[in-house]
């Protein structure tokens, strides 16, 4: 019976994630065979540097999607975070102060989204589209043109190593640990429950409003951290640079096997999804494919990954169907 339960849990939470992880390994192997430096510490650190921003942002989005809501505000929060770090970290607030301010911004935007959706019952797609546009406007207001400067302590700190471990790897590990804890918590169960069947969750005694608010705030905080790390990587501010992130965030979530209807999936899959998208870019670059073809491949990979996940879910269920 114990084996039975373990198998079932894997099947529920891991299906898409396992498929995505498998695809990631295959793609990384192909990439590494063309680019031998990929397997060195430098190569891996470089890959992680390229992945971490998308991984953090898509993780935030995963929380909102798991509880059955959409959240488009990510790139807006990242844009504000970026221009705030570029304008304040080298000056008045310093590194720590700017980080605090960035977190506060994520909290406020996520909180507003959450209140409008959960307490006023507005549609999340519309609300967060509004907050995306508003945030992008605020970013332009703070820094109308690319410029500003990210203080060195942030720029080198985040992209460097701590005890010879790349900082992005630490961030990734922290995200995974956080997710594993959240998934095992009451709030984690509540997020899955609300995303699966809101009416039943209500009749089960769960507080739907606080659960959704929590998910949106958590999403906002992850976008903010993503924006902070992103600023460290580009070293300056650009209010427009995050505009293209949105589709990649959704792609990472979907490739990772999280259902866009909510209630199924998880962050591990999303992280693999972000990895796949990054390795794909590097692989195409290594193969010398021209830049303007990459999006075509991104789209194809996304559809293939979802097909792959569906097929593995089907195969996993088949023997059991026959048995009963």
């Amino acid at each position: 019976m114990a084996g039975d339960t373990v198998r079932n849990r894997r099947k529920a939470l891991g299906n898409g994630a396992v498929a995505a992880a498998g695809l990631l390994i295959v793609m990384f192997a192909v990439y590494a065979s063309h680019q031998p430096t990929a397997l060195t510490l430098f190569g891996v650190g470089n890959l992680l540097n390229n992945t971490i921003v998308l991984a953090l942002a898509a993780t935030g989005l995963t929380f909102a999607i798991l509880c059955g809501e959409f959240d488009l505000s990510g790139p807006g929060v990242i844009a504000i975070a970026n221009v705030v770090v570029a304008t304040t970290s080298a000056g008045s607030l310093g590194a720590a102060g700017s980080f605090g301010l960035v977190l506060l911004i994520g909290l406020v935007v996520g909180g507003l989204n959450g209140i409008l959706v959960a307490y006023l019952g507005l549609q999340s797609l519309a609300v967060t589209l509004g907050s995306l546009i508003a945030c992008q406007g605020v970013a332009l207001l703070i820094l109308p043109a690319p410029g500003g400067q990210v203080v060195d302590s942030i720029a080198y700190g985040i992209t460097g190593n701590i005890m010879s471990v790349p900082v992005p790897a630490l961030l990734l590990a922290l995200t995974i640990v956080f997710w594993l804890l959240l998934r095992q918590s009451r709030m984690g169960l509540a997020i899955y429950a609300v995303g699966t069947d809101q009416a039943a969750a209500g009749l089960s005694g769960l507080n739907i409003r606080t659960t959704k608010l929590f998910a949106f705030v958590l999403a906002g905080l992850f976008y903010a951290i993503a924006g902070f790390v992103f600023s460290a990587e580009i070293g300056s501010g650009d209010p427009r640079i995050s505009d293209s992130f949105l589709l990649f965030m959704f792609a990472a979530v979907a490739i990772g096997g999280t259902s866009l209807f909510g209630g199924r999936g998880g962050v591990l899959g999303t992280l693999a999804g972000a990895g796949i998208l990054t390795v794909l870019q590097k692989m195409l670059f290594a193969l010398g494919v021209a830049d303007f073809y990459t999006n075509i491949f991104n789209g194809i990979i996304m559809i293939l990954a979802i097909l792959f996940g569906q097929a593995s879910a089907y195969l996993a269920r088949r023997p059991e169907r026959r048995g009963t």
Partner: protein, 511 residues
Amino acid sequence: MEGETPKVLDFRSVSKRYGVTIALHDVSFELHAGEVCGLLGENGAGKSTLVKILSGVVVPDSGSIELRGAPFKPQGIVDARAAGIATAFQELSLIPTLSVAANLFLPRPALNRFGLVSASGIEREAAAILESYGVTDIAPGRLIEELPLGLRQKVEIVRALWHSPSVLVLDEATAALSDREWLFGLADAVRRDGTSVLYISHKLDEIRRLCQRCVILRNGRKVLESDVASMSDEAIFSSMAGRSPAEASKKRPSAVRQRTEPVLQVAGISGPGVDHVSFSLAAGEILGVAGLEGHGQSSLFKALVGLSILTEGTVSAGGKTVSVRSPRIARSLGMVLVPEERKSEGLFHDLTTQANISLPVINRASRFNLVNRSSERRLVEKVTPAVNLPERFLPLNIDALSGGNQQKAVLARALMTGAKCLLLFDPTRGVDVGAKRNIYEMMRSFVGDGGSILFYSTELDELVQLCDRCLVLYRNSIAGELDRDQLSQDRILSLASGYRNGAHQAAVEEA
């Protein structure tokens, strides 16, 4: 008698209205410690509103409720549960993607010393709770979505029970349950411990078996409160419906058309959950299918309309061998399935009743791809009299209708397609007496006109009354076939529980 036991719940002139609809009007009743009180009424009579008020989901407009002498004004379902009222809901309130254990303990599963929910910890706890209520066939680590409906209902009931409430509300708790004796035993046990049970059911035999008293609602008002023993079935039916159902229970002559090509001929089909099933269905025939929960009835119906793939055997319709790979192909052959889960598989929520019915033939009401509402209405009005669905419901959102009327709309949609062969899967589940009678009428006139029906029901008396023949399923294959003159509930039950000869009363552990 009533003076001996203390009053637990006092429901005093409670009213609730939704817009212009009066859901409950000035309803009062009492529950005493250690009694099971039946609550009867057609769907739409106000039972579900009453249940929601007791569960803390809905706040009444006026009136007061006292629980053990203290005013009862719950802020929500958790509050009501803490005050001592727990409910097993008809529309199960379980989360499909979570485990049985997690569902049992929502919203606050126990935490381990790290402040986390330990899956193995709550599963151990859940196993102990399930076992203490005599449930040994459900592994607590299984996801709810992997369980058949009957087992889900067991989980729902245990979830209400283990809080040891002083008032237990069971709302249509046997609708999908095959093992009714299990529930009856539990109800007797909690009653002995002084819990009072409010038992909501459409099934009179259950009310007679369990309840001392019953309260009957009609149109939101209490019309009767009486000792069950002193009431005849007719008296109960007529106070529920305001009329007598006796004529409905008379057997009619069979409408089977002999010596015609079978409408549907199934030879040795196997597939997921279907094991070498063969039968033939004649024009004008109602062929019953009986079986305990989880013995392949649902798989059989799904396989026939192409929702699962057959690995063996042939299906012929009208004499020709066909390959039914999708419900659409089934429809083109004149076969339409009315599915089990009305809420999730049968209805298009947020659409009007009219749109729900007209969907399969919407092209006929459209010109240049634009739907003409009045010609749509004319199409729909051709079939609504057959199921006795009042016209005033057509423009309403389908969600505003009672369960019985929703089911009539689903049946009307099936008729709309011009089907020759209806596959009805438990069409009267959770449907009130009046609507049931309408559905029986519809079935009889459908076969009278030469149609044929494959009919599964959890209610054996329906099968006995309506069917020309009845197939009994056991472990995914046909255990036996009963002709019209052999049909009896006992025979069905003994075949369905695996006894070849109907000598035993079924004591069933199988699910």
